[in-house]
Symmetry: C2
Subunit: 302 residues, 2 copies
């Protein structure tokens, strides 16, 4: 793998970017990319590390897909629209030119698929034995009328909702094929407008991520285990499995009246799973009525 | 090192961001950061890998400084103003909480120093023996009147210039302490306006980077070796050493008349080192009048 040959490949494949994406004013090949933006931009970056976020031997297309999808999911969690992406790749020195070209092509394809073309990046070779490491930065536009939906707007009396189902993402392989909930988030912001109070994507587990909303908003979340939609076969650690990339959202109590059972564009179900009360922390209440503190459930990437 | 404790540290240290930097609408702690921007943003990302870009045992402050400075230098190369930064860190699992906190603090301090506060990022732990890897993404505003200065505007008849001196950056340690030429680039764009035709920062070596301007512009660059200011002790491979992070810029022939010998704000000298002619490629002409093709000189990070 030689960087200059891979760069030539990237520049050739990026030549049509500006014509396909009018917001891309200057794509790969200069010191910086130039994009149109404003007045506000959402920004996020995530790492994808071999052996941690995917197993050695995973197909390159699935690695590239997950690297892009994780960051796109963060844009969805703010109810935004992905607009551009930057990627870095630290690759095994032994990789062939064909493998490097293939990785770039698949990153670029997935980035375009979700509306955020790769406008730049960086490539480096790793010493023998080091795990491959990708990063993807994505910039996006906030929802035009609702603006950015943060974790900090939940209020006592609100209801806790989620999209889709959770649990078992790693053993099932769904962590490699999940669909970032961009369309669902936009629909929620369109439909609920200012009654959509807070949102987060479930990357580190329902329990831990719900606790983050509670902490961000200065409230207490109570989730009823019996209401949480789960994938079959049911994982015994469903609240802490992580990597679901569904949306947890907090809406005004009267949202019940206006929200259909599923997103009309995608068919993804939305389900009320709990309530917001005064206090702090987050608990999941089981069938016997016992409350389990969720703060330490789920992934801590330490 | 536990990610959640490090994140708490980061959020605490970032609490004053919005008041110090009005363009930061939402800093670290949510799914995305939110920044003010528009109508155009410059975007760049670079990786910094232990053993490749710095030696094991290098002081954490110098590692953090170089990680930020490399991306800031790309913004300078477009004559832009850095506005925000995102950082990722893949750290040895054995790192202590204090070491991780220290790295973040130094990244944050350098980012603020250059006007682009850290608004978000990602942290992960690496398996035993893997090299530490940082990435820094920086967004910036183009120069208000000149706009982005690309590599592609050089024309036959133009002159080739550079800031400062080159050579010996690695053995001297200057690759860890260089000053990104933000002020110089702004002064050049202010002074030369549309007569500043092209610019690049010298990261991979004078020869190779000058060849990139030639290729980007569809012209031939001729650099006179005797005119190139070099650091003492003089490196025998001055045109290919790399990591100088000086600016190479291409200006209209009449720029000679208006450009002082040094940037008034910083004292950094600017020197005419060659000319642009019709053709392609780049050569350095030695004292004996021999022309050396520079296309393959310098770093190829493959």
């Amino acid at each position: 793998m030689r960087e200059s040959r891979l760069l030539d490949h990237i520049y050739r494949r990026s030549a049509d970017l500006a014509s396909s994406f009018p917001g891309v004013l200057l794509g790969p090949g200069d010191d910086c990319a130039v994009v149109a933006c404003g007045p506000q931009t959402l920004l996020t970056v995530d790492q994808l590390i071999e052996g941690r976020h995917y197993l050695p031997g995973t197909a390159i297309d699935l690695i590239a897909r997950k690297a892009v999808a994780r960051s796109v999911s963060d844009i969805a969690a703010m109810a935004g629209v992905p607009r551009w992406a930057l990627a870095t790749a630290a690759l095994p020195a032994a990789w062939s030119q064909a493998e490097s070209d293939d990785l770039f092509d698949r990153l670029a394809t997935w980035a375009r698929h979700w509306g955020c073309p790769l406008v730049g990046g960086d490539i480096a070779a790793l010493p023998e034995g080091a795990p491959m490491l990708l990063t993807v930065t994505v910039g996006g536009d906030p929802h035009a009328s609702r603006g950015p939906v943060t974790r900090s707007g939940a209020k006592p009396g609100d209801c806790v909702w989620m999209t889709g189902r959770v649990g078992g993402s790693l053993p099932s392989g769904r962590h490699l094929t999940f669909e970032p909930r961009i369309a669902e988030a936009r629909w929620l912001a369109d439909t609920l407008t200012t009654r959509l109070h807070a949102m987060i994507d479930l990357s580190d587990g329902l329990g831990r991520d719900a606790a983050r909303v509670a902490a961000g908003s200065g409230v207490r979340l109570e989730i009823e285990a019996a209401l949480v939609p789960v994938h079959e076969p049911r994982s015994p650690t469903v609240a802490s499995d992580g990597e679901d990339y569904e949306l947890l959202f907090i809406a005004d109590a009267d949202a019940d009246m206006t929200l259909p059972a599923a997103c009309p564009q995608t068919g993804t179900p939305v389900t009320r799973i709990g309530q917001v009360i005064a206090g702090q922390g987050c608990v999941i209440i089981d069938a016997a009525g016992r409350a389990w503190d969720t703060t330490e459930m789920g992934w801590d990437h330490g």
